[in-house]
Amino acid sequence: MNLREIAFKKPLKLLMLLMTSVLIATASATIYYSLTMQPQVTVIAPVLKFSTAPDEPTGSNVQDSWCSLNASSYPNATLTYEKAVYINNTDGGSAHSFRLRHVSITPANGTATVGNWTSIKFLVYNSSGYVFSLNYTVDSTNWILNPSSGQTSYYSVPQSTGWWIRLETLSPATAGTGNNCDIKIAVDVEQ
């Protein structure tokens, strides 16, 4: 008797298909093995970190991985904080690279109060002189970043070496005293 000829051949086929599927699924699920991952997370100070510098503006707060700088800006006069904050590589064995990356600025583009500044410049120096910078200049009511991407290239700080940020501010003659600009800049460090 041919199996194809029996009346219940379709249900039988379906049943066989189902059993085969269960068999495959079971076999697939049972053949496995486990690796064990035991991550250990230790809190350590960053190797590249901020440090207070001689020209830190009054009222600033400098911690290892975070700093606020309360700078001033004078109308029609350039104000320079020659060494506003240090960026020290505390690793005695290796160089580490970092870059400056724009995160945010207030007042935002298109706001009339942006016109109270001409430029705010963050220039990175080492003992040999100027290295690189992230600059904000004003065109009417808009901030123009340089580099335009808002982030610099990475630059390598040799082991056990301190670099510093020179901060330059300039406001136009028409600037109104009391206006305030807040910036956030990330210092990205390659381990």
Binding site: P46, N70, A71, S72, N76, E82, T174, I183
Partner: protein
């Protein structure tokens, strides 16, 4: 014919496999290289503040004081002593140090000129002799709280030209290197 077709399919499958493997490996390497970094955060703020020192008109020559009293133009005619072409007054109730620093000259071949700060005694700041700097930057002088000091100049010219000496008045917090620069233009006709 079928044999050739199968052969090409095998080759195609191998190529596709290699491409897929390369892509996966590429992502893996990229993730490994890019993942080992951290970010420090810097939050600078800048407040527009009234300037610490105010420039004011002197009694000799002609001076123009610009908005906010942080830049000026001084004009003198012919030769002689010009006491005083500008005054500067401290406005914050703090002690500062000040000096003059010439940063540009124009057509000075026959110009002899000296510029001084007077605070009870003369401090020679800038000296130009036959169009060349003898002294381009002056020594620092204390400017005490609420004090006024004076800028004067001695000029000798032999030509009929107009000369310009562009100078920064540098105002520094004593003992550190934070300084403001005011632009003063001296015009000699």
């Amino acid at each position: 014919m079928v044999k050739y077709s199968n052969h090409f399919k095998r080759i195609r499958n191998r190529i596709l496999g290699a491409v897929a493997l390369s892509i996966l490996l590429g992502f893996l390497l990229q993730n490994v290289a890019g993942s080992a970094y951290y970010s420090l955060l810097m939050e600078p703020s800048t407040t527009v503040t009234s300037p610490p020192v105010e420039l004011q008109n002197g009694t000799a020559g002609t001076s123009t004081i610009y908005t906010n009293s942080t830049s000026a133009k001084v004009s003198v005619v012919s030769s002689g002593d010009f006491k005083y072409v500008l005054n500067m007054t401290e406005k914050r109730g703090s002690t500062w140090t000040v000096r003059l620093n010439a940063y540009n000259l124009s057509d000075l071949n026959s110009l002899n000129c000296s510029i001084y700060i007077y605070d009870g005694s003369d401090s020679t700041q800038i000296v130009i002799l036959n169009g060349a700097y003898v002294n381009q930057t002056g020594p620092w002088n204390n400017l005490n709280a609420s004090d006024t000091e004076y800028i004067w100049m001695h000029v000798e010219t032999s030509g009929a030209e107009t000369y310009y000496v562009y100078v920064y008045l540098e105002i520094c917090i004593p003992g550190i290197t934070t300084y403001a620069r005011y632009i003063i233009t001296f015009e000699i006709t």
